[in-house]
Subunit: 164 residues, 2 copies
């Protein structure tokens, strides 16, 4: 229940940049692994607990936080009202590119091998492509094709369009 700690430094930064805001929701120790569980179809407390080996109180706290942030939705089962289902919301599902990018980085630079299970295109059962940074018209952008710019110097589209 109780609103956990304040952590002012991150909140202050969050005003000017969205990364701290994102980390406020997802930055804690088990959040990404719980999310991965959700993407893989886990939805009950005990499933997460036994799959991840996380302490029960921490799991309860993380699930509550993810629900507070609208990343998971909590609903008690109709057929067995002891059980609770935690399911990804649209907002939670929108973290897929982030999670895949992080996983792919781990495969390439840490473990050196593909993670299990593998994410594939349902149509042809081929692995998805590496997640990359691309230009508005689909060119892959590398280290020297990128620039950090103030919003007022950006060409070509409004903020509204950019958000979509």
């Amino acid at each position: 229940m109780g609103h956990n700690g304040l952590r002012e430094p991150l909140r202050q930064l969050a005003a000017s940049c969205s990364l701290p805001a994102a980390l406020e929701a997802m930055g804690e120790r088990w959040s990404f692994l719980i999310l991965r569980g959700s993407f893989n179809g886990l939805c009950h407390f005990e499933e997460f607990q036994s799959e991840l080996g996380i302490a029960r109180n921490i799991l309860a706290n993380r699930l509550a936080r993810l629900v507070d942030h609208g990343i998971l939705a909590r609903q008690t089962c109709d057929d067995d009202r002891r059980k609770v289902e935690y399911r990804l919301t649209e907002k939670g599902f929108a973290l897929l590119p982030t999670m895949v990018a992080l996983r792919q980085w781990g495969e390439r630079w840490e473990t050196g091998m593909p993670a299990t299970p593998v994410l594939v295109d349902a149509r042809d059962h081929r692995r998805i492509a590496p997640v990359q940074v691309m230009s508005h018209d689909g060119r892959i952008l590398g280290k020297h094709d990128l620039l950090w710019s103030l919003p007022e110097n950006v060409v070509g589209e409004t903020v509204e369009q950019a958000a979509e």
Copy 2:
């Protein structure tokens, strides 16, 4: 210096999935923000400290960890040997898609506005596209186009190719 805490649960999981391995390197509280600083050109201890408002001992610890993991490279300046430069390695730079994806998620679902500074295509100064999960041939894949699969059922390419 001293090897910080053990945290066994994550390490055990890391054997079978690369996400825990990635989080082992990047999962701590300030790691992503330090990385963001690096991407934005910060490279000295005092720059990170004043920009992020992070405690000095924690900053020292995180920088050392990132160096240990090969994400940042530490080098003392030649012209002023009091100063130390922390620069992104290739491995560190490879976290760009992850960081951009997380930032974009925060823009869309948390702050509701573009983060500053904005990442643009150097060629035309237009904002980069949203980072997305795509098929091997460049189609954008949504919720219902994806499948989790065991590696042995994957079609079309070897592990070697997939890693690149």
